[in-house]
């Protein structure tokens, strides 16, 4: 493989990794934008998304098969189910803490995360489960560079989700309400906006995007386990910070950028693939030191 081949292959790999990061980062950034909460349980909702998808697809595959139709159906159903769970978590764990000091709600989020992954660990005995689908490896063989149809479809699907989200936030009344709440909750209440409802909607959308990413990951990697949300949660947080936390286009950009940086970073000679996480989180530290607002984040002008 020539250098160009390696770069091209890693561009493709980085895009798919980056689009997973971006989808998860969106939930982080939306929740932070609207109630200033770093929802550390977000990675676990990604994990839950893949487990719920696993259950639904196992059930559906006897009726409509384990191909793309089955995956799409289970993805939609799992997004709704996990999205509702996200709203429930918000109601039970976060709403009562909204007026408490900021640290309390952050600790609550960590507790929710532990409840979720320990719960799944107990239910699955900590086992790796094989995702009930085995897609073909057909694709484009450009000499040494190999890109499968699955990769193209998954990247395409995440871009569609991101575009829909962008349009929703910028072209609809609900989106406008979200952006307004991000600026000033009290003023929104005075204007007759149902703030609690919009916050719940934000949780629903953010969580269901994480669930979508979870199912895509299950489909792509072929196995799921209770701890799979941990590292990606931290990576998505990094991505959100890179893009500027609170900014939706920033999360998309940050996710893709982190995916690409990781992919290229691991190909540097003499640095092995085991340095991947060191690489990502060093970027987080450097960014927090030199540009804490991220690429698209502005200091306290407008979030979301």
């Amino acid at each position: 493989m020539s250098i160009q081949d390696i770069l091209l292959q890693q561009l493709a790999n980085g895009l798919i990794l980056g689009s997973f990061y971006a989808l998860v980062a969106l939930g982080y950034t939306m929740v932070y934008g609207i109630i200033k909460l770093l929802n550390f349980a977000h990675g676990d909702l990604y994990m839950l998304g893949s487990f719920v998808g696993f259950i639904i697809l196992s059930f559906l595959s006897t009726y409509i098969g384990d191909g793309w139709a089955g995956i799409l159906c289970s993805m939609v159903l799992s997004m709704i189910a996990v999205g509702l769970l996200g709203v429930l978590i918000q109601r039970i764990a976060y709403v009562p803490m909204l007026s408490a000091p900021r640290l309390s709600i952050l600790i609550t989020a960590l507790a929710v995360s532990m409840v979720l992954y320990n719960g799944v660990m107990a239910l699955t005995d900590g086992q790796y489960l094989a995702f009930p689908t085995d897609l073909s490896y057909e694709g484009f063989d450009l000499g040494n560079v190999f890109i499968t149809n699955t990769q193209i479809i998954l990247v395409g699907a995440s871009f569609i989700l991101m575009i829909v989200l962008y349009l929703f936030v910028h072209k609809t009344l609900y989106g406008k309400a979200m952006r307004a709440i991000a600026i000033d909750q009290d003023a929104c209440r005075l204007m007759g906006i149902n703030v609690n409802k919009i916050i719940a909607l934000t949780f629903f959308i953010g969580t269901s995007l994480a669930a979508a990413a979870g199912i895509m990951a299950g489909t792509y990697y072929g196995s799921i386990h209770f701890f799979m949300g941990f590292v990606i949660g931290l990576k998505a947080f990094t991505a959100a910070v890179i893009g500027g936390i609170g900014s939706i286009p920033g999360a998309m950009l940050g996710g893709l950028l982190l995916g690409l940086l990781e992919s290229f970073g691991t190909q540097i000679p003499f640095i092995g693939t085991e340095w991947k996480d060191v690489f990502s989180f060093s970027i987080l530290i450097l960014l927090l030191v030199f540009k804490p607002t991220g690429i698209l984040g502005k200091t306290e002008i407008e979030r979301m």
């Binding site: 493989m1 890693q10 490896y137 196995s223 085991e274």
Partner: protein, 371 residues
């Protein structure tokens, strides 16, 4: 509570001795079995005990050893060094002629001193830590392959497949790194090339970086030395990434789960495994007898345990007496003893002269013996 437990277990042991005392006559040959029959590893231990007793029954049916009937008695090692020590002392004071057993390496180690000091010949069917080699006083014989042996088997497969450029991937833990390092040393010592020697993080889902690195070195074979869960993802992504050459995995990945997760990507993957009954053509009748006697299938170490008892009986016959030193000498002199798990000869360290690892290949979602 503790006291009453101790008392009752003492009582149990005493009762056991009494029962044994009734059965065993002075003309019988007493052989101790030391396996965990309680605790987390009890299923493996019971399986080994069953296999050893089956072998003893067969030997007795054919006339016994030197005209004497074999009577076995089991000490529960419980996979716990303390329990194992007391089980071993009990067997020694019951004056057993020989011992067959040892499943958990950690629990077997302290007993080796007890048997060694008593000069009792011992065949160890399962425990295979390389640490056992150093504390062996010369009376114990390991008939399970050690870590070094898997390397031999792996290298022989790569040679047979005409591999030149090898890529080795491990996970940085003691077990997989050891296997990777030993394989690299052996492979380079043979004048061949290790083109990639990579480490991946445990639990990492995305292996695309590894795949590109490995592919860019164009190896003839990739050897994954770590466990099945991550191994399945590595295999899947290697195939997804267009890598078409040979893939082999170590015994840590010897699980049907690997095939389930990797799906069709695992087709044709080679795996190294301890000799378990299902892959041994010579173990067919043993399998049937075991099932008829115990109403269940033999587990992982049944074949080796069975071989252990048969080997011991063979050594006693060759020694021509039940003198312990003579039996140890006969064991050491074992040449190509035909066990159902493969031929047994010993090195001067009392380990297997030839690896008994078998090579499996994935076919239609199942591991089968590689022909």
């Amino acid at each position: 509570m503790k006291k009453s437990l101790l008392l009752s277990s003492l009582g149990g042991a005493l009762a056991g001795l009494l029962v044994l005392g009734n059965v065993a006559t002075s003309a019988d040959l007493k052989i101790g079995i030391m396996v965990p029959t309680t605790g987390s590893e009890a299923t493996y231990g019971k399986d080994m005990e069953n296999a050893i007793n089956l072998a003893a029954a067969e030997i007795n049916k054919a006339g016994g050893v030197l005209g004497q009937k074999i009577v076995t008695m089991t000490g529960d090692a419980a996979c716990d060094p303390q329990q194992a020590t007391s089980a071993a002392s009990k067997l020694v004071s019951a004056d057993v002629t020989a011992v067959v057993g040892g499943y958990c390496s950690g629990a077997t180690m302290p007993t080796m001193k007890i048997y060694g000091d008593a000069g009792i010949p011992m065949v160890i069917p399962a425990a295979n830590s390389t640490k056992l080699i150093d504390i062996n006083q010369g009376n114990a014989f390991q008939i399970n392959s050690t870590g070094f042996d898997q390397v031999k088997t792996a290298v022989s497969l790569f040679e047979a497949k005409g591999i030149n450029k090898l890529a080795i991937v491990h996970q940085g833990d003691g077990y997989s790194e050891d296997l990777a390092k030993l394989t690299r040393e052996k492979w380079t010592a043979m004048g061949k090339e290790v083109v990639a020697y990579e480490v991946v993080n445990k639990g990492e889902q995305d292996q695309s970086a590894l795949v590109t690195r490995v592919k860019s070195k164009a190896p003839d074979a990739v050897f994954w030395t770590a466990y099945y869960a991550d191994g399945a993802m590595v295999i899947k992504q290697l195939r997804q990434g267009g890598y078409r050459n040979l893939i082999a995995v170590g015994d840590g990945s010897n699980s049907p789960k690997l095939l389930e997760i990797a799906g069709k990507a695992a087709e044709g993957v080679y795996c190294f495994s301890n000799p378990t009954v299902e892959y041994l053509p010579a173990a067919k009748s043993f399998h049937a007898n075991y099932k008829a006697t115990y109403k269940q299938d033999p587990d992982a170490y049944a074949a080796l345990s069975y071989d252990g008892m048969k080997l011991m009986a063979d050594a006693i016959t060759r020694a021509g007496s039940t003198d312990k030193a003579a039996i140890i000498k006969a064991l050491a002199a074992t040449k190509e003893f035909t066990g159902i798990a493969g031929p047994i000869s010993f090195t001067d360290k009392n380990t297997l002269a030839r690896s008994n690892f078998v090579i499996l290949v994935a076919k239609d979602g199942k591991w089968i013996l590689n022909k």
